[in-house]
Assembly symmetry: C2
């Protein structure tokens, strides 16, 4: 009898949306056991995120491309990266801790792994080796102290650098969008047009990939082990006018990682949160306008020509996914007194 | 009788240091009549400072190179800029409003003028024209509103862009160093070694150029009209071993602006404030170490070989010039909803 009562109470305490494909953004993403959040680690990660000395020539920080003052990332970074051989749209970092896999081609299983990967990629941060970076940061007394505070270990290591950056990135969340308020119960937060748009979004099949807390498929947790990843085919319907015009299949996505034929044009499902702020769109950043992007998605994924009013309604719905960006105070980077550590 | 009393009161109200070559940092730099500070203008200037859309390809903001999280500027930026044809050390922006001229070669008379010059320089921000920038910012509703709030004019213009950035830059000050506390009267703030270093600094002649509130010569105001500028010869003693080793005269400085023979190897006098944080040193960033920099300066400017103990004392004095950096909250940049404005 008592256990039945408990079961009923338990059910009542779980909000209905937990069983649905549509869910509000939780306060924090899933934190891996191997990298618990601490204020010291987050503070160190923030310093590292803004520090240009983490790049080979000392000119580029994480924030140079993933500009946290911008609601999107730097709009022009896609263009600039093309010159360096990366033909991908720079994804927004907001709510990034809710992803189940990293990079467009789903090549990195965790935020920790992608941080290390970025640092050593010659097209991105271009550190020549782990030891070059470790040596450089070790020469800065303030960093030695910060690593000790965060990891009980004054010794700077690539593993701890990656962990600290990942811990900071897990704080970059934009909760409390109109959609979040709506799904938590305040039905007035979506306009009639936005509600119609949500219906189209569900009924036409967008939700099949863009579901879960981040509209990007399952987040790590009960549904998915960290690192399992989630990716889908794009375009599904091949040979369209749009595919040709925007050169969507010039890049074969996950195939480049696995060389598995089945992974051709498979991509991580991008989040739709804050999508009004994240133009240009698609893995190659080829489309500048959200209305056009919705129209194209419908055609290349479902072979369906959305009507103008359906597109407008879907965009009205997408507008409700813009959350509240946190206020971020610039860290103060430690300096090696009277010495240049970038040589 | 009354006017004599006034005169006496006036003299008593002026602190003794106002008549000296050594002065504390005032709360704010001189504000030009043509560009008064307002909270709205400063807020807009801060947004523009952090916005990568102010560069041609949309990848670079003022903060990309003049990183306000760093106490210096990006240490590696000098190296990175060399690849673009600028063979100069990126100067720190802290206390920049106290300078009487801008750029190492003293080519810009005001912060407003240098902002515009940076935006259009193909090696720096690389906007192809004023109208390209104006058009891009005008497409962002949040900017139209911010320009209206700052300038009573919704119309975006290069002049107002430059004014807003300059207004923000005039807030980037680091007051209250140990030296400032000392010169205001608390004589305990300089150690014995630092006081010995200050004596060497005065007696050997460093103060002849590095004087005034910013240790960079006269600030605009009673002593100097805005735009008059202040620059000196470096090296003064030619043909030294150091000149050769660090290639100090490969670049002829102000001569490149005026083509006047007398301006060969003339340079703006750099500020010494926060110098412990601003390695590498000299116009070409060729020297990584402050002890070496002091030794070299003494030799090439005065043909004097400073003793090891004199150098150490001078560095102890220079350490007291590190001020208190303000806490800066990242601005939130306005976005054009669902549209990419960088094309």
């Amino acid at each position: 009898m008592r256990s039945l009562l408990y079961a009923i109470l338990l059910c009542l305490s779980i909000p209905a949306y937990a069983f649905e494909y549509l869910q509000p953004l939780p306060d924090t993403p899933i934190i891996p056991d191997s990298n618990p959040q601490t204020p010291q680690k987050i503070a160190l990660g923030k310093q590292l995120f803004f520090d240009t000395r983490l790049s080979g020539d000392g000119s580029t920080s994480c924030n140079s491309c993933h500009n946290l003052a911008a609601s999107a990332d730097s709009e022009g970074i896609t263009k600039a990266m093309k010159a360096r051989g990366i033909k991908r749209d720079a994804p927004s970092l907001w709510n990034i801790g809710h992803m189940s896999t990293y990079y467009w081609e789903a090549r990195s299983p965790s935020l920790e792994a992608q941080a290390k990967d970025h640092l050593l990629d010659p097209r991105i941060m271009n550190m020549s080796s782990e030891s070059q970076l470790v040596q450089r940061l070790s020469a800065i007394p303030g960093y030695r102290a910060a690593f000790k505070a965060a990891f009980m270990d004054e010794k700077v290591s690539m593993q701890n650098i990656s962990k600290a950056i990942a811990a900071f990135e897990r704080t970059l969340n934009t909760p409390d969008s109109l959609f979040d308020q709506y799904i938590k119960g305040d039905k007035s937060k979506l306009s009639k047009a936005a509600k119609r748009g949500l219906s189209v979004f569900k009924n036409k099949g967008c939700l099949a990939c863009h579901f879960g807390v981040n509209f990007a498929g399952p987040a790590p947790g009960p549904a998915l082990k960290m690192g399992d990843g989630f990716y889908e085919m794009f375009p599904t319907y091949r040979g369209t006018y749009y595919e040709d015009k925007y050169r969507f299949v010039d890049d074969l996505g996950r195939y480049h990682v696995t060389l598995d034929e089945e992974h051709k044009v498979m991509w991580r499902v991008p989040s739709l949160r804050n999508i009004m702020d994240t133009a240009p769109y698609f893995h190659n950043g080829a489309v500048n306008d959200i209305y056009k992007a919705v129209k194209i998605m419908s055609k290349v994924q479902f072979n369906y020509d959305m009507s103008e009013s359906e597109i407008k309604d879907v965009v009205e719905f997408l507008k409700t996914l813009t959350g509240k960006y946190p206020e971020i105070t610039l860290p103060r980077l430690p300096e090696a007194a009277g010495v240049n550590v970038v040589n």
